[in-house]
């Protein structure tokens, strides 16, 4: 039985190796970036000709721009996300897995200013680690990642159980392991009690 559990533990671990590493990196990234604002400076700026139809609402303009630009890995702009700059230009932030495409509708100049604000690789991994199948509207590559993530999150629960099994079956008397478990559990319990 222990041999079978060990095989499953190893095989499942290899099958979701990248996801587990990314979970760890995402946790460290969140620790660093939670205290800072995300990047807000554009990596590139370009302009595209655009004339909004007469009498079109902001919503219709946003939909038209989404259709026309087809910016990678973006999705249609929800109504509540429509904003305006201080000089009253329509401002559309198309969020995506790599950051933001910030589109400003310069109606008087008949063009769009498109700024690409790009997250670094660490923030990308923090965001991709959170992809789930519950997000129906995500782009296909993100959905595929979410599918593998689904396997990984169930595997994570399985590793906890199978790891505990392997420990108790093979190294039960390891004193440092019990100390490590006690330290982790105590820290968790104290903070749980305090935060509750």
């Amino acid at each position: 039985m222990t041999g079978l559990v060990r095989k499953i533990h190893i095989w499942a671990g290899l099958l979701v190796l990248s996801q587990l590493a990314i979970y760890g990196i995402a946790g460290l990234t969140a620790g660093v970036y939670a205290s800072r604002a995300r990047p807000n400076r554009p990596r590139s700026v370009r302009h595209v000709s655009f004339t909004p139809p007469a009498n079109a609402t902001d919503r219709q303009v946003a939909g038209l721009i989404y259709q026309q630009l087809r910016l990678p890995f973006t999705r249609p702009m929800p109504d509540w996300f429509l904003r305006h700059t201080t000089d009253h230009h329509l401002l559309l932030d198309f969020y995506n897995i790599n950051g933001i495409y910030r589109v400003t509708v310069l109606e008087d100049e008949q063009r769009l200013r498109i700024e690409e604000i790009r997250n670094n690789l660490w923030l990308f991994m923090e965001d991709i680690h959170a992809a789930t199948l519950a997000d129906d509207g995500a782009p296909m590559p993100v959905r595929l990642w979410a599918l593998w993530n689904e396997v990984a999150l169930w595997s994570l629960a399985g590793f906890c159980l199978s790891g505990a099994w392997l420990w108790l079956a093979t190294s039960r008397r390891h004193p440092w392991a019990w100390s490590a478990l006690a330290a982790g559990s105590l820290a968790f319990a104290i903070l749980w009690g305090t935060l509750r």
Partner: protein
Amino acid sequence: MYRTLRTIHLLAGAFALPMLLMYATSAVQMAHPGWFRLKPAVSESRFTLPAGSNDGRRLAYNLMAARNISGELQQLRSTAQGYEFRIVRPGTVHEIRYDHLTGATHLQTLASPFIGVLNRLHHAAGMAHHDYLPLTMWGVLVALASMATVTLAGTGVWMWWLRRQQRRSGLILVGANLAFTLAVFLILRLG
């Protein structure tokens, strides 16, 4: 070498076990929100504080001391009537409205169920930006658990490689995983 790696793997896993269980459980909740009830329990109370307070931050800290409320002060803003602010702990949000003229204070508390607390703890991280010490300490624990997770992945792969009898089957699995990861990353980052 194998014994050393196994010991490191075991210690990292044993230390991080409660956190990993918390992350796994809350990840299942987030992946399948329909399976769980997250509706918070709401309670309200009204009371009077000294009128005329013109320092919102001090008002909030006095209220926390007087009503034995702990948490992080968030979204403090001045309104036409007085102040509004929130005091937040993972899973518990206190929303407070204070009337500057009369001192009348309205406190609404939203308390999440157990799984909701796990969800909030999953999202709590960072060591530098909290003015509530337990959250800073939680950030430290998250960082340790994250390092343990990377350690588990690294030592796990290394141990597998040393187990010659499982190299071939493992290579197929890890190869598939790495190829998939590389492909998705390239598509997403270069697409």
